[in-house]
Symmetry: C2
Subunit: 354 residues, 2 copies
């Protein structure tokens, strides 16, 4: 036995590499193959004899070997990082989305890098480009409203960065899109209010720059119409998806004569504004005014009365986006019902007084 022929009489199982982690060379030597063959196993090449593969995998398991993502990335000219690009004021959306993406990349060796940005900044596009090119990202997930910006999509196509756009309408090729079903969620809110017997119904939309604003209005309006209730333009206001805009719009709507008996706000933040105005004015919900929101973020159940709202499956959406980005949609398919928004009826909605 020459001194170089083997060293497996040393303790080279887990933690036995003199404090350093095993590398592909260690695995190759222990399994008596070239590192190229170990590489084939790592990358799931089909061109490896079953027996060889088994031997290599045994050594990998025994040593706890994990390939170095930086070295792989350097050779691949592409990192194992997924970027989440967003410009969203709602922390809970961001956190839920992150959790979902993390669900999707779990045990794949990919990691999530977060990148908030400012769509109104002059360096908006240059920032995104720099971020992606510098890190050689494997791909990015775009959430509204960044996802709705065609300049971003064009940029990503130009620099050949894989991406998934999450939006309420199909803005791109199906394999680059996750469509959230805002329209259906808003329709559930419309049916709910119609079923309760409301005729004078108010609506506070999000800003027109968000596609979801239009989708939620359309779903709501269609569902009302289907139940024979007309959404009167005089009961419609344009908000900005913010608490403050909810307050301003609610003040206007509740000052009308006659006022609406119910208000559907485009998101929970604005619904919170409606409730605050109502309570401040001495109105009671739902006796004097029914209020329905959209999102079902934590705030919804903390308000008084607890808010009837539409729960969007943000985390599931994030997981699906990650799986699609990694081309692994089939691995953990979501049940269809998991991807649909669902109406959560709490105490802020009830029949109109008369």
């Amino acid at each position: 036995m020459t001194s170089s022929s083997s060293s497996d009489d040393h303790d080279e199982t887990e933690g036995g590499f003199a404090g350093r982690r095993p590398t592909i060379n260690d695995i190759a030597r222990l399994a008596r193959v070239s590192k190229k063959t170990v590489s084939r196993v790592i990358n799931r090449s089909p061109f490896v004899k079953e027996e060889t593969r088994a031997r290599i995998e045994a050594v990998i398991a025994e040593t706890g070997y994990a390939p170095d993502p930086q070295a792989r990335g350097l050779a691949f000219r592409r990192s194992f990082l997924i970027g989440l690009i967003y410009d969203n004021p709602t922390p809970q959306y961001v956190v839920n989305m992150q959790l979902g993406i993390l669900d999707g990349i779990k045990d794949t060796g990919f990691e999530l890098v977060v990148h908030p940005c400012d769509r109104s900044s002059p360096s908006f596009l240059a920032d995104i480009r720099g971020f992606i090119e510098r890190q050689r990202l494997a791909g990015v997930v775009l959430t509204p409203s960044v996802s709705e910006d065609e300049r971003v999509a064009e940029l990503l196509a130009e620099i050949e960065c894989d991406y998934i756009r999450i939006a309420s309408v199909e803005l791109d090729a199906p394999d680059r899109m996750i469509v959230s079903h805002d329209r259906q969620g808003a329709a559930a809110a419309g049916r709910h209010l119609a079923e309760l017997g409301h005729k004078r119904v108010g609506f506070i939309s999000g800003p027109p720059t968000f596609r979801s604003s239009h989708e939620r209005r359309a779903g709501f309006e269609d569902a009302l119409a289907a139940a024979g209730v007309k959404l009167d333009p005089k009961y419609i206001r344009e908000g900005a998806y913010t608490f403050e805009s909810g307050i301003a719009c609610a003040e206007q709507l509740l000052a009308l004569d006659p006022p609406p008996t119910a208000i559907f706000a485009g998101n929970d933040e604005m619904a919170a504004g409606v409730l605050q105005v109502a309570l401040r004015s001495g109105l009671r919900a739902p006796e004097d005014i029914s209020v329905v929101g959209f999102d079902d973020f934590q705030i919804a159940s903390r308000l008084w009365p607890p808010l009837t709202t539409v729960r969007a499956p943000t985390r599931v959406t994030g997981r699906l986006a990650a799986l699609k980005l990694l081309g692994a949609q089939d691995e953990a398919p979501a049940r269809p019902e998991e991807t649909l928004p669902v109406l959560v009826v709490r105490q802020s909605s009830g029949p109109p007084r008369r």
Copy 2:
């Protein structure tokens, strides 16, 4: 001129590298130095002649060159990634902390990788270890309550990973700690209620497993005592920093005879529970019961009445943690007042009825 002596008659300014980004070799060639010297400039070595440095920096600026973090990381045996490790149910805390860390690493070439974890999982420590070693993280920021787990600190020391612990008490060496001043924030809440004239004051603590629970209680109790108000044990309940626990504790406190005229909850979530119980019971705040929270997250101003609370400078704390981790505290020092919690008086607190 030999064919290899120079090629700067080609267009090799920004975007002129035939679609590829410039590398250290391109810069070295254009600046007529070795790549080692370019490397010295990148790494701010003092041993470069000023004239040489200027020439290299000019070429870097002209070409838009940015060193590849993966290649640097591979050579350094350490990535340019900062990990945020947390087990925290409050989305807004997480998002604010992320924003702060991103503030701190802006333009440094480092990126933020998020890693939520479950402190109660049997693989908790192994997960963290795997995450750090696999990615060769440059360092991690730990937030409560992960930051308070000595096993985590020991693990990080063992694998020689730099870390910063954010906690309400000095648990570690100063250069590894960012101390949040929970005690002072809670004291402001205590002074506020004492000044309003409350004598029968209730307190709902966070879970004993969080150091902040003790700090907030101590600060509150001390401030009351200084004002001659005793915090009677019968008005103290142990919550869990959750909305539900706030409800449960409030139900108990408000059922006492006589009930407290004011309640300080250890965080906004529990304060929201207190307000919900009060409103549900037909009590009015602040006329029948004053309520004060801690955090000033979005929910605070959405509640009815808007919640008096203590605003913690989470984002600033995150920035300071990142700067400390990168050893650049001096670069953008925070003004001391930026790092202190501040009482935000809204409408949920007022003088007791009698």
